[in-house]
Symmetry: C2
Amino acid sequence: MREILDIQKQLMPDLMDIMKKRYSILQHILVSGVVGRRTLASSLDMTERVLRGEVDFLKELGLLESDASGMKISESGRQLLEDMQPIIKMAFGLTDLEDSIAKAFHLTNVIIVPGDSDTSIFTKKELGRAGAAALRKYVSKDDIIAVTGGSTMAQIANNLAISSSMKGSWFVPARGGLGESVDMQANTIASIMAKKTGGKYRLLHVPDHLGEEAYQSLIQDPQIQEVVNAVRSCRIVVHGIGDAMVMARRRKVDSETTSSLRGDGALAEALGYYFDRQGNVVHKMPTVGLRLEDLQRVEVVIGVAGGKSKGEAIASVLRHGQEDVLVTDEAAALEIMKHV
Amino acid sequence: MREILDIQKQLMPDLMDIMKKRYSILQHILVSGVVGRRTLASSLDMTERVLRGEVDFLKELGLLESDASGMKISESGRQLLEDMQPIIKMAFGLTDLEDSIAKAFHLTNVIIVPGDSDTSIFTKKELGRAGAAALRKYVSKDDIIAVTGGSTMAQIANNLAISSSMKGSWFVPARGGLGESVDMQANTIASIMAKKTGGKYRLLHVPDHLGEEAYQSLIQDPQIQEVVNAVRSCRIVVHGIGDAMVMARRRKVDSETTSSLRGDGALAEALGYYFDRQGNVVHKMPTVGLRLEDLQRVEVVIGVAGGKSKGEAIASVLRHGQEDVLVTDEAAALEIMKHV
DNA sequence: ATACCCGGGACATAAAACGTCCTACAATGG
DNA sequence: CCATTGTAGGACGTTTTATGTCCCGGGTAT
């Protein structure tokens, strides 16, 4: 049932907008009884002429009638409106959630896919598709795009396709080695994305668990420096968000640091930084690349994460306030709303 | 499930066309493997430029990829196409039926609503809605519209609404008294339609079972003559189609005529004429108004009838070859196709 | 009677769609 | 190896559509 709308959305992204527009016109006319064009236009926040176009169309379809005293809904229009109620609720329930989250955390765009990535592999794939679509929407020619690792990011990479708008783009890992397994590393993701889209890539080969001395000499290396500079001048960042403890375990962080994290109330992880409930940074991984302060200069920061278990973590990162776009799933979104 | 598509068809018929267009483009690309714009355009019967617009759009959406050697479908495009299969079939299965019937009987337009009017009152209402929509589509200012009686026609009248394009129209009964009950009479239907649309009407008051002498003097009456002339100069005819025997019974035709009808193989009735399987007229009701030969001059003849039981009758009338537009239901349409 | 709001006509303008042609490039077949 | 064919994509003038902005005659309520 909902599936059918999701499929149609893929083929005609503006379908929902048109549907909602026409529905709300009819809805307003229904509740108003008889109403005039100008009155209706201002109450719907449309220009008169645009409304007129729609109204003429709806009249063609026999969904509303008009005479010199104004417009009113026809019988078939009323019936249609009634039949549409459940569809509208289904279709725009998530839209309302998106708007709420966007407003609560001052984001420019929120995309929610139905389901729960924790329990459904399909939802996870869908999250990847939506993430890829979001990236495609914001990218422009010759952009530098910094990406992180993780299974969600891997899904996004999976769903990217060759595209002329990304042909000149550079994909780079946002940060160096973070101790992830190879196929989930930022380096891997960046190269896959580049291959899929026809773009180019540069990698940051920074071994994990480097001593301080070796680390210092490494970051002096001109090659490394060049990539790091590219990363810090990126226009777009796409990153995953994780639960702090889960990430610490996955990255085999030593027990001392782990207990320190726990003590500081670390909840979330993103871009190698650990955040507490209030969105404060309580720890950062020792590696090179994009620093949190660089984000202010980055034009588009896209966070992608889903699953009920990650809801609280996502809320923490959002509270830190550097995100522009969030791509998540329904289950996580509902959790996020509990923490506003 | 199908409901949602029907609703969308009502609210955004234009989007459904777009959906079909984009689907068939993807479909063609899928089966062609790699194909070029010009080749595809001719095989889809589109101009190159229009196809190009769509293709650019689909590329934006990541549903297809293109390089110098041609276009091919992307993985998400292939997946989408698969997911859409049932939706397209549900949404446009009837469209294919419509085309087949239109072609078989040389009609300019066929409209099929889902369901079976025999068993579902909802389908019957839907048939009325579709009939009203068809009439609205063909009517222009100050037309004379001749209508017949019957329950289906009554449903059409029900679904008409006030409309500026019909304000100057005249509604007239196609033929005089045919022995139907009052609320299903052509006279009644014509007056209801006029009231609903804001149009005007003239009636033909011809009592049933009139003697030959009285009949002759009646049709000499100037008032009657005037209406009859109006009827015969109508631009649009909307009529029902019935099963011959059912109609004979309903009109209380005497037993002699009934058995003669049976002997002649009368199958269908329309406009007071009885037709056999081949579409030949085998009997006509003795009354005034539109004659079958007048139909040739009528610009738009719209036949409206549904229900599995009427399928064969509809096919008979269609075979007579005077129809331009047919509005029917799925069950009848399937029966009709058995008689091509 | 009057003041107001109505739908709908009109028109200039901005924007989108479209038809048409061209160019550089890849593949294919001799 | 080259000619031929088919490809995407750029360019540009034209047509169609969408939109903003008025205005007018006609109902309606006060």
